[in-house]
């Protein structure tokens, strides 16, 4: 790695004031696990890094809200996220997902905000957060705003964040009456990035699916909500033919890409199998 300058601001405002929107070699680092890989491989060569490690514990706090949702500070480590009883009660899908997300050491250091801002489409929590209907709160030089996950992700490693705007908080709404599942398939080593990720979140009234959210990731350039496929499920109980129709609609709608982990046609077959499996698992369990 090449030499660079280093800053450690004490609050979000100071961090943002240290950024230079005209100079993209000045960047923030949260846990740094993903950025370090880019720096070590020479893909990213910073002139100055702004560490967010000095922002204090509050920047990574998890708060249970009275209405049943949770707010998570962007600097919450993935380990702290996985050990949180509020997360386990509100959205157990996050706890299950974290079990196979990287390894103990990386989870100890990596942060939720960094994980979401990195915008690598192979990452596990962006599709999960999208299926949960989560939003991110940002702080910027000019304004603060709230973005849905669909608004946040623009493309391959590309977000809607301005160069001087940072994610400071993640908000997950109440999941009462819902059931969410995330499945991924890795076609090379077990610890490789997934070839396909599928997240499903359903809300049922008896046998009838009231609300459904279906998200595909890893096989696409960014996590994408498959709106037509989820609309097909809403207002109906599931039958083998409706499940098939839903999967076929998802295949038609998902912009799958070919890469080193498989061709688009191969990923189509994976999506058909994994989506049906995810819906069936989601329909078995609902959070009371």
């Amino acid at each position: 790695m090449k030499a660079f300058e280093w800053e450690q601001p004490r609050d979000w405002g100071e961090a943002i004031s240290m950024l230079d929107p005209r100079d993209l070699t000045v960047r923030v680092m949260a846990g740094g696990t993903a950025l370090m890989l880019m720096m070590k491989s020479g893909v990213f060569q910073p002139t100055r890094l702004i560490s967010l490690q000095g922002l204090g514990q509050e920047a990574g706090a998890i708060v249970q809200e009275a209405q049943g949702g949770i707010r998570i500070g962007a600097l919450c480590s993935l380990t702290a996220l996985g050990q949180s009883s509020a997360v386990a009660t509100t959205a157990p899908v996050i706890i299950r997902t974290l079990k196979t997300l990287s390894n103990v050491r990386v989870r100890n250091v990596a942060t939720l905000g960094g994980h979401l801002a990195h915008a690598d489409p192979h990452m596990d929590l962006p599709p999960v957060m999208m299926a949960l209907g989560a939003t991110v709160k940002t702080v910027g030089a000019r304004s603060s705003r709230t973005l849905t996950m669909s608004e946040l992700y623009r493309g391959y490693y590309e977000t809607a964040l301005e160069p001087d705007e940072l994610i400071c908080e993640i908000v997950i709404p109440s999941q009462v009456g819902r059931s969410a599942v995330y499945l991924k398939c890795s076609t090379r080593a077990a610890d490789d990035w997934p070839t396909l990720g599928v997240a499903v979140n359903v809300k049922c009234d008896g046998d009838v699916i009231e609300k459904a959210r279906i998200v595909v990731s890893a096989a696409t350039e960014k996590p994408i909500e498959l709106v037509a496929a989820q609309t097909l499920l809403e207002g109906h109980s599931i039958s083998p033919s409706r499940l098939n129709d839903c999967a076929e609609l998802a295949l038609a709608q998902a912009p799958l890409v070919s890469d080193a982990r498989g061709t688009a046609s191969y990923k189509k077959e994976l999506l058909r199998v994994y989506l049906k499996r995810a819906i069936q698992i989601a329909l078995k369990g609902t959070i009371s």
Partner: protein, 158 residues
């Protein structure tokens, strides 16, 4: 001193040291320069566990951890308490849980933390916790036996 380096203080294996580091240097590079070679960079991607270190109470991959972040922190390596073998090291020897030994310091560091968190792990718990540690000699069955042996020794009050 240029703007690309600074002097940091680390409590390294309980001894305070002052060292000037480049901002771009990883903790593993700095420790190697200090003559501590038990943790070593192998995959350089945080996947293999050979560079496992403890910063305060947290296990990290030293190859992905900038040394400046350790300023003012406690850093522990496999070289801490070198005078005596602990129950985990003893169990690895008794079970033959290595061949070349290159990955062993990382495994020992991880297993100590695993047993602190979970004194009675199942084989599945062990495999899960150690999934980010690679042994190219493939002594995985012996490692799992060694963890179980160390766990049972730890559970018996001495």
């Amino acid at each position: 001193m240029s703007q690309t380096e600074r002097t940091i203080e680390i409590f390294l294996n309980d001894k305070p040291i002052r060292v000037t580091v480049g901002h771009h240097q990883t903790l593993i590079e700095v420790l190697q320069a200090q003559g501590l070679t038990g943790a070593r960079e192998s995959c350089a991607q945080g996947l293999c566990g050979c560079c496992t270190l403890k910063v305060n109470e947290t296990l990290v991959s030293g190859c992905l951890f900038l040394a400046v972040l350790a300023d003012g922190q406690r850093v522990q390596t496999i070289e801490a308490n070198e005078q005596a073998l602990d129950e985990v090291q003893q169990a690895f020897i008794e079970c033959g849980a290595f061949q070349c030994g290159y990955c062993t310091p990382g495994f020992i560091m991880m297993v100590r933390a695993l047993l602190d968190e979970n004194p009675d792990p199942s084989d599945e718990d062990i495999g899960h916790y150690l999934s980010g540690n690679l042994c190219r000699c493939a002594t995985y069955p012996e490692i799992i036996k060694a963890v179980q042996r160390a766990a049972s020794v730890r559970r018996v009050p001495s």
